[in-house]
Subunit: 613 residues, 2 copies
Amino acid sequence: MGIELKQQGSKLQGLSALRAQYEPQIPPALKGGNVKVSKGDNTTAADPSDRLAVSRAYPHTYGQPLVHLVSEDKAAKHSTLRIGVAFCGRQSPGGHNVITGLFDALKSQNADSVLIGFVGGTEGIFAQKTVELTNDHLKDFRNQGGYDLLGRTKDQIKSSQQVNDAKAACEALKLDALVLIGGTGTNTDAAQLAESFLESGCTTKVIGVPVTIDGDLKNQFVETDVGFDTTCKVYSQLISNICTDALSAEKYYYFIRLMGRQASHVSLECALQSQANMVLLGEEVANSKMTLFDVTMQICDAIQARGEQGKNHGVVLLPEGLIESIPEFYALLQEINGLLKQDEDIDVNNISSRLTPWAAALYDFLPIFIKKQLLLDRESDGSVQLSQIETEKLLAQLVDTEMTRRTKAGLYKGKKFNAICHFFGYQARGSLPSNFDCNYAYTLGQTAYYLAQAGLTGYLATVANLKQDVSEWRCGGAPLTAMMSVKRWLRGPGVSQIGKPAVHRTKVDLKGKPYELLTQKASSWLMDDLYRNPGPIQYAGAGADLKTITLLAEDNDYIGKVQELCAYLDKVKEIVKPGCPGEVLKAALCSMASVTEILTVMSAPSFRGRTPF
Amino acid sequence: MGIELKQQGSKLQGLSALRAQYEPQIPPALKGGNVKVSKGDNTTAADPSDRLAVSRAYPHTYGQPLVHLVSEDKAAKHSTLRIGVAFCGRQSPGGHNVITGLFDALKSQNADSVLIGFVGGTEGIFAQKTVELTNDHLKDFRNQGGYDLLGRTKDQIKSSQQVNDAKAACEALKLDALVLIGGTGTNTDAAQLAESFLESGCTTKVIGVPVTIDGDLKNQFVETDVGFDTTCKVYSQLISNICTDALSAEKYYYFIRLMGRQASHVSLECALQSQANMVLLGEEVANSKMTLFDVTMQICDAIQARGEQGKNHGVVLLPEGLIESIPEFYALLQEINGLLKQDEDIDVNNISSRLTPWAAALYDFLPIFIKKQLLLDRESDGSVQLSQIETEKLLAQLVDTEMTRRTKAGLYKGKKFNAICHFFGYQARGSLPSNFDCNYAYTLGQTAYYLAQAGLTGYLATVANLKQDVSEWRCGGAPLTAMMSVKRWLRGPGVSQIGKPAVHRTKVDLKGKPYELLTQKASSWLMDDLYRNPGPIQYAGAGADLKTITLLAEDNDYIGKVQELCAYLDKVKEIVKPGCPGEVLKAALCSMASVTEILTVMSAPSFRGRTPF
């Protein structure tokens, strides 16, 4: 069913109109338009203990090779392709540019090729609500925020009915490829569709593109996600404004909860950008098994220490996932999730008796607004609606109670604690994307086209070496199965012990460079108000091409290193060619035996530490 | 007591550092540094019926002339001056530039002149907490947001004890002038200090500068306030992001409350910038005497009409002052204010019995969170803490109830109403100021210096013709008494019937051009989602010098028109010089008699309409 796209009634104005004229930068490999997809080594799942499970679940798509895009001298005429595209995850700045990049590459290679947009995301796929995209549709959406070109609905293609509907759509529309735009959930779906389509003889290829503000689709192949850069910059601007406000009025503590789902990448980046007084990363709390009481005391101790220096203001950042990271809350939420699955008749009044005594004790202790929020409808993936749980208000209230107690007991002599709470979420998702996100998304869109054109399926479009200039970016594709793992340690009634293989959200690495930057500075930022204001996103002039601190700090370019290693191996082969001196061969043999031994030990399942989240 | 300024520990980084290097633009009159203060006509109070009251309360400062700054050819050496400066109002982007402008003008005229900053605003004045400002202090605060150079405390210099403390400070510090930075309250205080100082023989002159995000210190002499431009731009960026989000997900209604105190200028500007679906201006609601029920129904009718077009999303803007504009709320708040003044033992449980039956009925109807918020401590001027009253949640809840009722009654067939509530306040006040605010504030700071240097007191520094390029701006000063009026119609127990003369907040003019722009477009914006995204504030490139729509739409330049009128009068005199033909004299006489008659009627107190707010 081809439908009319809703007209964006207004012509773009002002900065939006200017941005629509911006030409995204692309790396050299894509520039000439003569692009070859070159195959590299075959892949495996990162964790050896998951390899069997992943290969069994994905027999057709497991183990495919990495691929790289390289420019070719000779032009090859591309055959006519029909490609479908849908926004499956949540709004993330830059999403539109994936589509414009895909469109421009497709049309530049063959003007008869067709890009079909699914209107309303996954539900648009199931219902075959489509529109054939033209330059006219796209012109007002180039470099613009939001997903309003096509809209979106739910995040999941999960049931076999939905998989069948998607297949029927691809077949009815004669799609050569389907490109799905989203985060971990969407890309797990993409892998599942690719596998099912191969299994059932459907010829449509499936390609995923990493787009999520949460920044948690992150692994050896993916350095960051489209939208993370913009969103963190918008939040950081606001946090910094509030830091300045706090320092000017010197009477409030601001508790700011930040969007970002279960992982705390957004909060970490915003802390590094704004240098706010305190950030409580979910990963830290989970790792040190801090209770709600511990978290409260940690904040109170900080307020007391600042009070002793005459400082009665401050800014505390909280990731929305914090609440799930507090062990007793995690347990409570798992129990509630289980009960909600079994029975819809749960409410604030009757739930306590159905919980374990430990969970019930915590639930009964909570203020009524949190009690209600914990029982709200679940997300489509069954998880809690983190955006709706006002953790910042809960903590502000607990801290207030404790500071009052300390004051009465004569332990705290500073001014009365005054909190102002904020949740920064929706006000960044629709932002005009930064130059970085415009370029990255557009490059990914073009890359997705070339992967589809090469007949690959079950791949994620990737761009490596992002912290360097665009001229050094490297485009390619990585099999989604190579990013999969299997979650264990799920708990609570109604939850299975071992999950299916999936592309999971990557948490903040507590051994990583960005977190190290934070811990080095945390105590001076806490006490000395070294606030930093990155200001609003700039599109021209100095600062317009700044990247996130997280991206710049991280030791990325996994693929570059794989290539470097291959060069070493080739060099060894070259040196020890038959005819080489015996002692050289002996030295090579001895060294390689040692390397192999070390790597074997390091790669054994028992060697690898794991955390329950 | 000279004190050490707290060190801003961090050197500025990134965009903040770049901004510190920005050189604000100033109009030609200030450029050479040879500036003359030229006196114009004497002034009067705008409303004839207030003239007697104002002239009695301000016998020494009433009726002073307008003054204009003009550049002179010859340089005059300025004597050494000691000037004090304080942030008295709330944080507003650009406040620091008033100080840097003042400092640069003062030092350029005489390097021995001294600028003394009061640390902690009004309380710093009373306690004589001072710091002699140097270029070293200022360099990290040039073109930066916040008030953290000096900080601030309360908004008021009110009691005679406080006036005496301020006088003692000015005398002890041998100040030639005191410059107060703030909005209507601060500038009423400035007028009061100027009058009291003259009365008691204190030689310190007092100059005010119009700085408030609320944009409500606005009259014939003041076209806009420092900070309004930046704040509206930050809010509009976020509102537009949310509009984009709403249009992408198509499932939420966003209720966004905006800071701006009793007047709705901020909400009006943000509505014009973002073209959100709906804005409820306090002035409209008050003018049409809409009840809480009416407001709720108006929103519900809009949601229903949109639902019938298949639209289940939208963005509704609410000024924080809305609640005071609803007549029954206004009456309730006045009663509560009266009770709080008389008796501190009021709480949620015992208040109903002390209210009139009408007020009690409304109070009892409200949800508990609003009940509590209505009883919070009052502002220093006795008004409600509007920032703490979650009107957006109250309305979302009432709308939800009504939409559920309509659904059950079969009147509404759209998707379930889902609201997400936001309050945008503190996240803009500390923003890096826009180029406009940097230039305007810096120009005002320089102007304040020249007014002080000319020995004027009880004046507000003004810059006219702001909608034109800086090269056409005109600097001057207007007596604060000329902006004063007397509020009548206060009500409730413990409130006097007639207030003192004061510089009052100017409400949105429902006959003005900006409001007309809104009403022309309101119905298409409501139904057609013509959202506009102005994007983040830019400092370089196209769009960096955009001004607010309000400023551009308004018919400003009152002072220019006064000058134009004077030119007409002079021309008439010129034409009818003795010796002119009799019929020319006769025509002039006849025309002037008619003009005079019309103006006399128009200026009579009975002619001027008044609203009770």
